[in-house]
């Protein structure tokens, strides 16, 4: 959604400068620990300072700037049908669901269960049908699969149920290779996929200031194939980062810049999103807290930090600690999604479907969050003021005491001026009783049933499905 509103800025320009300088000092003096010698060698050859004794890479300022300058400020996360391309770095705000949970709240039983492969297909179908979620992130672990076939199956069933861009975490270079081979096969040619990558990969450093060899293997592979990536730090304020918001941002910014820089060493010009998943710890009982208001402010601030370098950002919003779609989930999700959106983040992930501190999902939460995001998009588009919308002509025509219901002016503007929710209950009391007292949740449940009843069949061409299954025998049916 293009922003019309002036952005919300939690940090002053001076604050931004101080945080950035501190982050650069961290990178230069403290460094990032790299737990794999071969990668240290690559970085050394590229000009980084290596502390061999404690496996650290340090980024001297001039070298850092030189490397970071290679990173693109704009690129596209392609959809397969061209209808939902995500244009990063263009001042638009996009939302994605969140990934790799292990539990699902099953409204059929009312209880929680482990996630299965079918949940990947179903969540992909939901995202495919929900207008305000722009790309699909592999939502959950398929507990009914052998680990060696995770990513082949994740991505296959995702790509078979949505034409939107598919992003996912990979556990290993082998997993990333499976995903890539499958994607090349679907694209037809390797060059096709390189030109218009419709898949991308999420990795994370380990806060504080550590990146493991496996993560670097995945990044190195993806960058070499022009698959967009992010290496998104998830520091926890008070646990794996200082117990101050500024301190957490300094460390996160250093980690995020290191991720971008290392990818540029691997493949100059690699499509990298500056990543940000800063959260907090509730130190009363050491409860991990994704959805604190501090998380919302920090993710907003992260947008300002990415902007210094003109990097598209993969920020976070829409998380909750609530275990069910309820009042807590509604307000926590709205706070962070809205605040981060009002900062103009390119991509807000975790924005839909999540419950339970990022450990669980619910189908209903996908459609509820889609509606929250719809409201946020409406807020971002602001108030349109022009000759037509000012409406003097119609005010003069109706005059005192009339009404505007049947005026041309009303009919001309009513669709674009207002957000029309699918789930919010707006009918009056008697009609509400007549309809069996619906709630946002009951209506979400109805909508989920409607979408999944229609959308269970795959989207890929039947012949292609047969060819894929022949070529990739590890693919399991739902």
């Amino acid at each position: 959604m293009p922003m019309r509103l002036p952005p919300y800025r939690p940090l002053s320009p001076e604050d931004v400068r101080k945080i950035d300088q501190t982050s650069r000092r961290i990178l230069e003096r403290v460094g990032i620990r790299i737990l794999e010698q071969s990668h240290l060698n690559i970085l050394k050859a590229a000009g980084a300072i290596i502390d061999q004794s404690d496996q650290k890479v340090r980024f001297e300022a001039a070298w850092l700037d030189e490397i970071l300058a290679r990173a693109p400020s704009q690129f596209i996360l392609y959809s397969r049908d061209g209808k939902n391309d995500v244009h990063l770095g263009k001042g638009k705000v996009y939302f994605a669901n969140g990934g790799r949970v292990f539990r699902i709240l099953d409204m059929g039983t009312g209880g929680y269960r482990l996630t299965m492969l079918r949940d990947v297909a179903h969540t992909a179908t939901l995202v495919h049908c929900l207008d305000n979620i722009s790309l699909y992130i592999i939502a959950c672990q398929a507990h009914d699969l052998q680990p060696q076939h995770y990513h082949l199956n994740d991505f296959y069933h995702a790509l078979n149920h949505t034409t939107k861009h598919v992003m996912g975490g990979c556990d290993s270079r082998e997993g990333a290779e499976q995903m890539w081979e499958l994607s090349v096969f679907i694209a037809g040619e390797e060059e096709e996929l390189r030109e218009k990558p419709f898949v991308s990969v999420i990795t994370n450093p380990i806060s504080p200031l550590t990146i493991d060899g496996n993560t670097l293997d995945i990044l190195s592979f993806c960058c070499s194939k022009s698959i967009p990536v992010t290496c998104a730090p998830a520091p926890i304020s008070g646990a794996t980062a200082p117990a101050t918001l500024a301190g957490t941002l300094c460390q996160m910014h250093a980690e995020a810049l290191a991720g971008v820089a290392i990818c540029q060493v691997f493949s100059p010009g690699a499509k990298v999103l500056y990543g940000a998943v800063p959260t907090t710890m509730d130190l009363r009982h050491m409860e991990y807290t994704m959805s604190s208001v501090e998380m919302a402010i920090m993710n907003g601030a992260a947008v300002q930090l990415a902007m210094i370098y003109d990097f598209p950002i993969y920020a976070s919003g829409g998380v909750t600690e609530a275990k069910r779609p309820d009042i807590q989930s509604g307000c926590e999700k709205t706070f962070s999604n809205l605040m981060v959106a009002m900062n103009g983040a390119d991509l807000i992930h975790l924005a839909a479907g999540m419950l339970d501190s990022g450990n669980s999902i619910s189908y209903e939460q996908y459609v509820i969050d889609n509606e929250i995001i719809g409201m946020i998009n409406r807020i971002l588009s602001g108030i349109s003021v022009n000759e037509g919308t000012l409406g003097f002509g119609v005010i003069e025509k109706v005059g005192p005491g009339g009404n505007y219901v049947m005026e041309d002016h009303t009919i001309e503007y009513m669709k674009e001026e207002f957000f029309y929710p699918d789930l919010s209950v707006r009918c009056n009391f008697d009609i509400w009783e007549e309809r069996g007292r619906p709630s946002m949740l009951s209506r979400a449940n109805d909508l989920v049933d409607e979408i999944l009843d229609d959308g269970r069949e795959g989207l890929l061409d039947t012949d292609l499905i047969l060819e894929i299954k022949k070529k990739f025998p590890g693919i399991q049916n739902l």
């Binding site: 009404n403 005026e407 009303t410 009919i411 008697d430 009609i431």
Partner: protein
């Protein structure tokens, strides 16, 4: 001439000028009156109802279509023999005494008119006496009252009493509505029907007069 495509499209769009012109063209070409009504106007309103129920049309558009149909009816109506074309029923409607809120009442009036009722709209701040006199004068089938304020709701009871005193309570059905009004209140003051919104008001009115 059996093709009323231009007419139905204009009614669906709520384009009064074109619809009236299309009606005139059909009349000039000697089209059957009942066909213009059934295959043109009513067919259009059926599609409007369909589009409304699937969310493709909003209330203002539906009202515009209803109004467009009414304008076309003005051309056709005089050409029917008196007993050939009956309205669905005569409705006297208004906002009750000391209440100046009329958007809800206007919506009900427009929807009922679109559905084929003959509407006499008395406006706002209508006294029990005025309701009664007008109902007698036009031979109303229904008296419909609206109130937005809980403080003006008692005027509904008084109006019903006035209808009784005038000896016409058994000749008219009384419908009430408005934000604070409930089904319970309706039975308490012995109104015949209560409707929570404009769409239900049309259904309720048809039910009261036993028409489909």
């Amino acid at each position: 001439m059996s093709d009323f495509k231009g007419l139905t499209e204009a009614v669906i769009k709520g384009d009064i000028q074109t619809a009236v012109a299309e009606t005139q063209t059909a009349l000039d070409a000697g089209a059957n009156l009942q066909d213009i009504l059934d295959k043109g106007l009513i067919a259009a309103m059926d599609q409007v109802g369909e589009k409304f129920s699937t969310g493709q049309m909003f209330v203002p558009q539906m009202l515009r279509s209803a109004k467009t149909m009414q304008e076309c009816m003005k051309l056709i109506k005089p050409l029917f023999q008196e007993d050939e074309l009956a309205t669905k029923g005569k409705v006297v409607i208004g906002t009750v005494r000391q209440d100046l809120h009329d958007i809800g009442k206007n919506l009900v009036a427009m929807m009922m008119e679109g559905a084929g009722f003959a509407i006499t709209d008395l406006g706002v701040d209508v006294s029990p006496k005025d309701f009664t006199q007008k109902a007698q004068e036009v031979g109303a089938d229904i008296v419909a009252m609206s109130a937005l304020l809980s403080t003006t709701m008692p005027a509904m009871r008084e109006t019903i009493e006035a209808l009784q005193e005038a000896g016409i309570r058994d000749k008219v059905k009384v419908m009430i509505g408005g934000a604070p009004v409930t089904e319970n209140f309706a039975s308490e003051i012995k109104a015949d029907s209560y409707a929570p919104d404009a769409g239900s008001a049309v259904i309720a009115a048809k039910k009261l007069l036993s028409i489909s």
